[in-house]
């Protein structure tokens, strides 16, 4: 079993309130805020699928889809 | 039947309330009569002057309190001092010789019985003083039949104390009979 690889980082823009928690705690600095203050995956290739952003997101806006799922 | 208005008084713990409820319940359940029982509640129920009002009748009773009893039972001096003036003329005032020293004459039949002393001598347990008093009362005034009271006692009491209560009831009845 290899390291999990990201298939897609789903972020529901209409639910995201741009609090920045996911960005602050991402160990690989994958996420950023766009010009509307919504989170998006700026560097998806760096994602290690730890899913901490998904788990901590207070807006329940993030869904990390790994390749094996 | 003419309305029988009873006030039973004494100190909390002597069982006057229980006795009054047994009497009224016997009248209702086994003699088809109408009865209402009420009592003064409050902290005085422990040790103070307990009072229970019972009205027994063959017709509906609306006002449940007794203002002028035609039967008044006093088992303590305090209760006697407080209540003797309310006795209805021609009524029955029953007191216990150990607890009450009667002072003034009232316009009623005044009966003083050594109920406590007799209970202690013949039965040896003061808890049945109230049942002895009931016995005396029903022999002095035919309010209900002794069997009715016995049946209530059998329903309410644990089996091992029924005999003692039956003895107390009979003792009371004989105390009353002796006066006739």
């Amino acid at each position: 079993m290899g390291k999990p690889k990201l298939k897609k980082l789903h972020i529901r823009q209409e639910w995201c309130k741009g609090c920045g928690i996911c960005i602050h705690f991402c160990p690989k600095k994958v996420l950023e805020l766009d010009d509307k203050d919504k989170a998006f995956a700026a560097r998806p290739q760096d994602c290690i699928c730890c899913k901490l952003c998904e788990l901590r997101c207070p807006d329940l806006a993030i869904d990390v889809e790994a390749e094996d799922e | 039947m003419e309305k029988c208005r009873i006030v039973m008084s004494g100190s909390g713990g002597q069982g006057v309330i229980t006795a009054s409820v047994i009497l009224a319940e016997a009248a209702v359940i086994f003699e088809g009569l109408i009865a209402v029982q009420s009592q003064a509640y409050g902290p005085e129920a422990r040790g103070g002057a307990a009072r229970s009002d019972v009205i027994i009748s063959d017709s509906e009773i609306h006002f449940p309190k007794v203002t002028q009893p035609n039967v008044l039972v006093c088992l303590t001096q305090t209760a006697y001092n407080k209540f003797f003036p309310i006795i209805r003329p021609g009524g029955l005032l029953l007191t216990d010789t150990r607890y009450v020293t009667t002072e003034r004459k009232v316009d009623a039949k005044q009966i003083e019985l050594p109920m406590y002393n007799q209970v202690m001598e013949k039965i040896g347990n003061p808890v049945v003083l109230n049942i002895c008093m009931l016995g005396a009362l029903i022999s002095l005034r035919n309010i209900v039949k002794p069997e009715s009271i016995l049946k209530i006692l059998e329903e309410r009491l644990p089996a091992n104390s029924i005999q003692m209560n039956r003895n107390a009831l009979e003792l009371g009845i004989s105390l009353g009979e002796n006066l006739k």
């Binding site: 920045g20 901590r56 329940l60 | -």
Partner: protein, 267 residues
């Protein structure tokens, strides 16, 4: 079932402020329920009043949004009549421990099988930032403009003293631990208390200069430590987190079942 299936999505985005930790509690709680594969029809969520209480509106369970502080009393009625249901009662710190303090200690004492989640953000958020019983000495709030002189409860000690048979503490930073603890709390037969330190960046954070939501969460990492850790022994100021109590005790509904058996027999 994905956690989205437990949501009433039509009410999203939710009403909580950006960065409010309550959303994370909702998030982790649903994951715990998902891990346990509970049926939606078997869950009753009862809440009181306040920001925390709105959580019940967002989940697709049987939901009872009640009055301030009394959620546990309502939940007790539901649980006693339907012991087969899972009762989850999320409460704010004011809801649970100020106006509802009496119900909290008595539900704990009875050890009725209810999962109480105390979302402790140390402030009354819904009414705009007044101090709560968990705000703490020296902090600021709109009703403590010269600093707060009220001392805080220690929720965990209070729950233990009141007799809860499962008592735990975690934070929104420790999301995995929170999920795990809530899962165990729901499984536990008896009264379970989970205190979650959850940030209110809008009122508590701003009043007390604790920075952004992320910074407040960062702080939870720094001021807490696992129960009995070396760090804890070296620095007693640190707040311990983890499961403090997990014990088997006669549960209230089961005990009442025995009362019924006795009463029916003695009739």
């Amino acid at each position: 079932m994905a956690i989205k299936d437990y949501l009433r999505e039509r009410f999203f985005p939710h009403m909580w402020c950006p960065g409010c930790g309550h959303g994370t509690v909702l998030n982790c709680m649903l994951r715990a329920i998902e891990n346990l594969a509970l049926e939606k029809n078997d869950i009753v969520m009862v809440s009181g009043i306040g920001c925390s209480a709105r959580i019940s509106g967002y989940v697709d369970f049987h939901t009872l949004h009640t009055i301030h502080g009394r959620a546990l009393a309502f939940a007790t009625g539901v649980k006693m009549s339907r012991p087969d249901l899972n009762l989850i009662v999320p409460m704010g710190d004011g809801d649970a421990l100020a106006i509802g303090g009496n119900h909290f200690i008595h539900a704990a004492r009875r050890n009725i099988d209810i999962t109480a989640i105390i979302m402790n953000n140390r402030i009354y958020g819904m009414t705009g930032g007044q101090f709560s019983p968990l705000t703490g000495y020296g902090k600021l709030a709109t009703t403590a403009p010269y600093t707060n002189i009220d001392h805080a409860f220690d929720t965990v000690s209070l729950a233990i003293a009141a007799g809860a048979s499962f008592v735990a503490r975690t934070t929104t930073y420790h999301a995995r631990q929170m999920t795990d603890i809530i899962q165990k709390a729901i499984q536990h037969k008896g009264f379970s208390v989970v205190e979650v330190l959850t940030q209110c960046p809008t009122y508590f954070g701003r009043k007390n200069k604790e920075g952004s939501a992320a910074e407040m969460m960062e702080n939870y990492k720094n001021i807490t430590t696992p129960i009995g850790s070396k760090k804890s022994q070296e620095n007693p100021e640190l707040i311990e987190r983890g499961i403090f109590v997990e014990k088997e005790m006669p549960e209230y509904c089961s005990e009442y079942k025995k009362i019924i058996q006795k009463a029916v027999k003695g009739k």
